[in-house]
């Protein structure tokens, strides 16, 4: 009898302990999310309603705030037919950055991971040091360079120039990330490909590359988003409104009016975050999927 009592007692204790653990988890994980979710909720509610009560309760559903998708959008003296030309600029910049970063860092990361050459370690340290400079302190020097290259004030070519700058700033970190993915592939697999009849290039393309796809996914997403949300470079170098990107447009929406159309602004903000949402919801699986090699681990 006595022993069954002790068991019951320890069971209650274990239950209490479990509840306590969950409580701690909830406090740590959920509470910090509340302000973030509030902001997102605000953005969402605001953009779809004609009026909000207490800043969050919607009243009157409307699509009026989203009119920039089909009708003209006024910004200062400039009037756009709709949002799409600017979206195209932003997309071109982001995709360009992403493409350049993936191309260079996948080749560079492989070389740093797999090839022995003089000065490899110092080079790697130098690469990481490059990342220490934020673009804002490079603005003046970069302006001179852009000017010399004849890319300043040349409309779309200026965006190409910014693409190059942005890619240059992203490549060091991306190369490091992708190098880690290459490091994780055993030499055996590459050797097996060579023995099976591949040239080094073919082995890289058919055997090594498919296994770093999650890594390529990661760096392409990160560099796309960094290009998509780039503000200071576009704001500084692009003077022609036709080649503005979304972040600069949003800035001007706030900056140039005494009266701010909060509904329009939040709809624009939500529109701006759509690619991010798409990317993260579709690529989660890709990022988590890491191939496992021959031996079960």
């Amino acid at each position: 009898m006595k022993s069954s009592k002790t068991i019951k007692y320890s069971r209650t204790k274990a239950l209490l302990w479990t509840i306590a653990k969950y409580l701690v988890v909830i406090i740590i994980a959920v509470v910090p999310l509340i302000p973030i979710w509030t902001m997102i909720l605000w953005l969402f509610m605001q953009s779809f309603s004609s009026k909000v009560i207490m800043g969050i309760l919607p009243s009157g559903l409307t699509l009026n705030n989203w009119r920039f998708l089909w009708s003209s959008l006024k910004m200062g003296l400039k009037e756009y037919p709709n949002i799409w030309p600017i979206t195209f600029n932003t997309l071109a910049l982001a995709l360009g950055v992403s493409g350049l970063v993936v191309f260079v860092s996948v080749l560079g990361g492989y070389a740093l991971s797999r090839m022995e050459f003089k000065g490899r370690t110092p080079l790697m340290e130098f690469i990481i040091a490059l990342h220490a400079f934020p673009s804002i302190i490079l603005l003046i020097a970069l302006f001179v360079i852009l000017n010399k290259l004849g890319l300043y004030g040349k409309g779309f070519m200026t965006l190409v120039g910014i693409m190059l700058i942005k890619a240059g700033l992203e490549i060091p970190m991306a190369t490091w990330i992708i190098k880690g993915f290459f490091d994780a592939i055993p030499w055996d697999i590459e050797w097996a490909a060579l023995v099976d009849g591949c040239s080094r290039w073919r082995a890289w393309r058919s055997v090594i590359l498919p296994q770093v796809l999650p890594g390529i996914g990661a760096i392409s997403i990160f560099s796309f988003l960094s290009g998509w949300s780039e503000f200071i470079l576009v704001f500084t170098y692009v003077k022609n409104e036709a080649y503005y990107t979304l972040p600069v447009l949003i800035y001007h929406m706030i900056g140039e009016y005494k009266f701010i159309d909060w509904g329009l602004l939040s709809a624009l903000g939500l529109f701006f975050t759509i690619p991010t949402l798409i990317f993260f919801s579709t690529s989660q699986k890709l990022l988590l999927r890491i191939y496992v090699g021959g031996i079960k681990r």
């Binding site: 055993p186 055996d188 697999i189 050797w191 097996a192 490909a193 060579l194 023995v195 099976d196 009849g197 591949c198 040239s199 073919r202 058919s206 055997v207 498919p210 296994q211 191939y291 496992v292 090699g293 021959g294 031996i295 079960k296």
Partner: protein, 362 residues
């Protein structure tokens, strides 16, 4: 099929000499094992034959062709890695077909060959799986299938059985041997397991610290080891070694280690004494008989501990200050502390030079 010849092959990594002046000839259709402890240079040797490493010095020939500087893809070799190195993003079918696709074999031909190989290795029901969904034994077969699919001139196996469980390993040993004889492919097999090497290979090259110790048939390695390393490496339980000296007294030859002495047969004693006096005597656990009574020319000892193995027992016997291992029948009913006498089979004693470690009898 081809003959593989290594001529004065040396490989140096930085300051480490991984393979030191290796000469080896593998005959057409022969199954040769490279045997040695970890880090002895056997895998490096294999990778040089594969063309993945270039020798620092020396040449490698396939038949009469110098392949030393030929890239792996032009050597027509098949290789199975210790980790199997299957391509994780391809199915079993694609893995086996990959070398054929690279050779630009027509599609229907590839299909026929893959199915044929898969059937031979009994993996034809797994063709649509990914490597991660296979057991170790199945992965091993797929790796073998991929190596065999392109009908290589030379098959290189790098410890292919070491990741399998003990039972499967014994099964695959026989399977591999049969397959090799059936296909008649010149095969080089790297292993650190002497049982694998002894049971499968036509000839074994024993390596240690980058150097070839002995290259001979399994029986020769067992019966006539060239040096103390080979003697100690081949055989399980390992050979016992006792230091001592050999001298002649009144026309009779003795081995004396200070605590006991045994009389040697005249022929044996003459050969040894003509070369040196300071020796190491070696004898295998299975070549000593245990007597419960004192007999002439035997060595007295005390049973230290008995390890039963089922069919046999390993008796650890304390002779003077050293412990030797003797293989005996379980019928003896020996107990710790019991006094026994060891009788040596003189034809199966080995003597090595104490300084150089080379055999005095070969």
């Amino acid at each position: 099929m081809v003959k593989v010849t290594l001529e004065n092959v040396t490989k140096i990594f930085g300051k480490v000499v991984a393979v030191n002046n290796l000469n080896l000839e593998v005959r057409d259709g022969e199954f040769v094992a490279l045997l040695g402890p970890s880090g002895c240079g056997k895998t490096t040797t294999l990778l040089m034959v594969a063309g993945i490493y270039k020798p620092t010095k020396g040449k490698i020939y396939f038949d009469e062709h110098d392949v030393t500087n030929l890239p792996p893809k032009d050597r027509n070799i098949g290789m199975v890695f210790q980790s199997y190195a299957l391509y994780p993003h391809m199915t079993v079918y694609q893995n086996i077909a990959f070398p054929l696709r690279l050779k630009k074999v027509p599609k229907n031909e590839i299909d026929r060959k893959v199915r044929e190989i898969a059937k031979l290795l009994r993996i034809d029901n797994l063709l649509n799986r990914k490597p991660a969904q296979l057991s170790g034994g199945q992965q091993q077969r797929v790796a073998l299938g991929r190596a065999l699919a392109k009908e290589p001139d030379v098959l290189l196996l790098d410890e292919p059985l070491s990741n399998l469980d003990a039972k499967l390993r014994v099964l695959m040993r026989a399977e591999l041997k049969r397959l090799q004889k059936e296909l008649g492919i010149t095969t080089i097999y790297v292993t650190h397991d002497q049982v694998e090497a002894m049971s499968m290979a036509d000839r074994i090259a024993v390596m240690n610290a980058g150097k070839l110790q002995q290259y001979a048939k399994p029986e020769a390695l067992y019966n006539k080891p060239a040096n103390i390393f080979v003697a100690g490496f081949i055989g399980n339980p390992p050979m016992n070694f006792i230091e001592g000296s050999v001298y002649a007294k009144n026309g009779e030859y003795f081995f004396d280690n200070g605590e006991f002495k045994i009389k040697l047969e005249k022929e044996l004693g003459e050969i040894i004494a003509s070369k040196t006096t300071e020796v190491i005597m070696g004898f295998r656990p299975e070549h000593v008989k245990i007597s419960l009574t004192n007999v002439p020319n035997s060595v007295e000892g005390v049973v230290y501990v008995v390890e039963p193995l089922g069919r046999d027992i390993v008796v650890n016997v304390k002779v003077g200050s050293i412990v030797v291992k003797i293989l005996a029948s379980p019928d003896l009913n020996l107990e710790s502390g019991q006094k026994i006498w060891l009788m040596f089979d003189q034809r199966k004693l080995h003597f090595f030079n104490k300084i150089s470690g080379t055999s005095l009898l070969v």
